[in-house]
Amino acid sequence: MKVVVDMNKCQDHGQCVFAAPDVFSLDDAGHLAYVSDPDDALRDEVEEAADVCPLQAIRIEA
């Protein structure tokens, strides 16, 4: 699975971190970091993360 976050939109709300902690995290400065090619087994939680992103900045490609 390929995950793309539009970093121009992202405002570091961190909701994706709650939904999919294996894929998304906030660094010490509070900025988003993420795994761009997570395992397919994580699809449910990544979809949840995309749903709850207040900026709708997360895209799942294939």
Binding site: K9, Q11, D12, H13, G14, Q15, V17, F18, L26, A29, G30, E47, D51, V52, P54, L55, Q56, R59
Partner: protein, 399 residues
């Protein structure tokens, strides 16, 4: 045979409901009916980025999941009546749609002030068209703006207007502090100070008695008789549920659509309500049904309601942890839990109300909500308390 679920309302809650119906296994037809001409879009930027001219529609539009590429959209159409016994809804063009399942997702509309005076020049911010119209008015040179209602939307609009360079922005509210209803006095005071420091004026403890002007608004008359000059008035005084179309079916529509814990309306197995129009009991709290106008609620309710409708069985307890945020000027408010249930016992958990602060709300000495005001440090601190709130057993309240 051609089984169909009709989703009344084509905003975020309607879209999420359609997606979750598919996720729950519904392979029949889905028809979404929405009164706006637009496909579902994200509303929070309307009072901020859209007003500021930083967000074109394409950036607001939701990207529907592939699973709903075959749903039927009836946009620019309003559902005007329903016969729940007959399983039909009627649209404003006279079309009648029969259904096997109905999702009520018609949401809210802004409450309007019922005062004497002209109507032109008075705005609300609920739809994209509202926001674009207001932006046009705010960017006219020399505009004087009065925002009625010092809640989240009103304060966001005031902040955006100041950011656009509007020199005169005044917020009017009968309460003595902004956002004090949901957040209490401590943060209300801190927020008042921050807004004033950034150029927003306030007329607090004042109601609106009417508007001056002939064809257009020229001023707002306050309850003490004084007049605030205004070319642009923004009414942000709460909202009204869009439920008139459901009348005559024996549902409790006193404030939204009353549902059970499965989000069923009127005990009917084939009718559920989602989004901010649903008045549902939250097993996390006291079981009292409440409507919740938070951004996460459409998604939370859609998941639960889709399971109810498709599986025709109780999907388990419904206990979403409320959460909301608000961006104003250069600061953010982030809330987890239910601060409103703990306004009587408010404690600073981290930081200082003069700067970044994390505030805890308690009921019977137990933490029921946290609100962070400021930057990433308190936001991270709030996230830790969120985990604590999630772990708590249900709250039994005696209010």
């Amino acid at each position: 045979m051609n089984a169909r679920i009709v989703v009344a309302g084509a905003s975020m809650a309607g879209l999420r409901a359609a997606e979750q119906l598919r996720a729950a296994g519904w392979s029949g037809a889905i028809t979404l009916v929405g009164d706006e001409p637009h496909l579902p879009y994200n509303r929070p930027p309307l009072s901020k980025e859209v007003l500021a001219g930083k967000a074109p529609f394409e950036s607001l539009a939701f990207r529907p999941r592939a699973s709903v590429s075959d749903v039927e959209w009836r946009l620019g159409r309003t559902v005007v009546a329903a016969g729940l016994d007959e399983r039909t809804v009627r649209l404003d063009d006279g079309t009648e749609l029969s259904y096997d399942g109905l999702v009520v997702a018609t949401g809210m509309r802004p409450r309007r002030l019922n005062c004497p005076g002209p109507k032109a020049g008075r705005h609300t911010v609920r739809t994209l068209d509202d926001a674009q119209g207001l932006r046009e008015a705010l960017t006219r040179p020399g505009a004087r703006v009065v925002v009625v209602g010092a809640g989240f939307i009103g304060c966001e609009v005031a902040a955006t207007a100041v950011g656009l360079g509007v020199a005169e922005v005044t917020v009017v509210d009968p309460l003595p502090l902004p956002m004090a209803g949901p957040l209490g006095e401590l943060l209300g005071r801190a927020l008042l100070k921050r807004h004033e420091e950034r150029g927003v004026r306030f007329a607090l403890g004042a109601g609106v008695a009417g508007f001056t002007g002939g064809d257009r608004v020229t001023g707002v008359v306050l309850s003490d008789g004084s007049v605030l000059p205004a070319d642009v008035v923004v009414e942000s005084v709460g909202s009204v549920a869009n439920t008139e179309w459901l009348e005559g079916n024996g549902l409790d529509l006193t404030d939204g659509v009353l549902t059970d814990a499965c989000l069923r309306a009127g005990g009917r197995p084939d009718v559920v309500a989602v989004g901010d129009v649903a008045r549902f009991p939250n097993a996390r709290y006291d079981g009292v049904p409440r409507r919740v106008e938070h951004w996460c609620i459409p998604t939370d309710t859609a998941k639960h309601a889709a399971k109810t409708l498709v599986a025709d069985a109780a999907p388990g307890p419904f206990a979403p942890l409320p959460s909301f945020w608000s961006d104003q000027h250069d600061f953010r408010l982030q809330s987890f839990g239910a601060p409103v249930l703990g306004r009587q016992d408010v404690r600073v958990l981290d930081g200082d109300p003069e700067g970044d602060v994390l505030v805890g709300y308690h009921h019977d000495d137990r933490l029921v909500g946290v609100v962070a005001l400021g930057g990433q440090a308190v936001a991270a601190s709030a996230a830790r308390y969120r985990a604590e709130l999630l772990k708590q057993p249900a709250l039994t309240m005696t209010v």
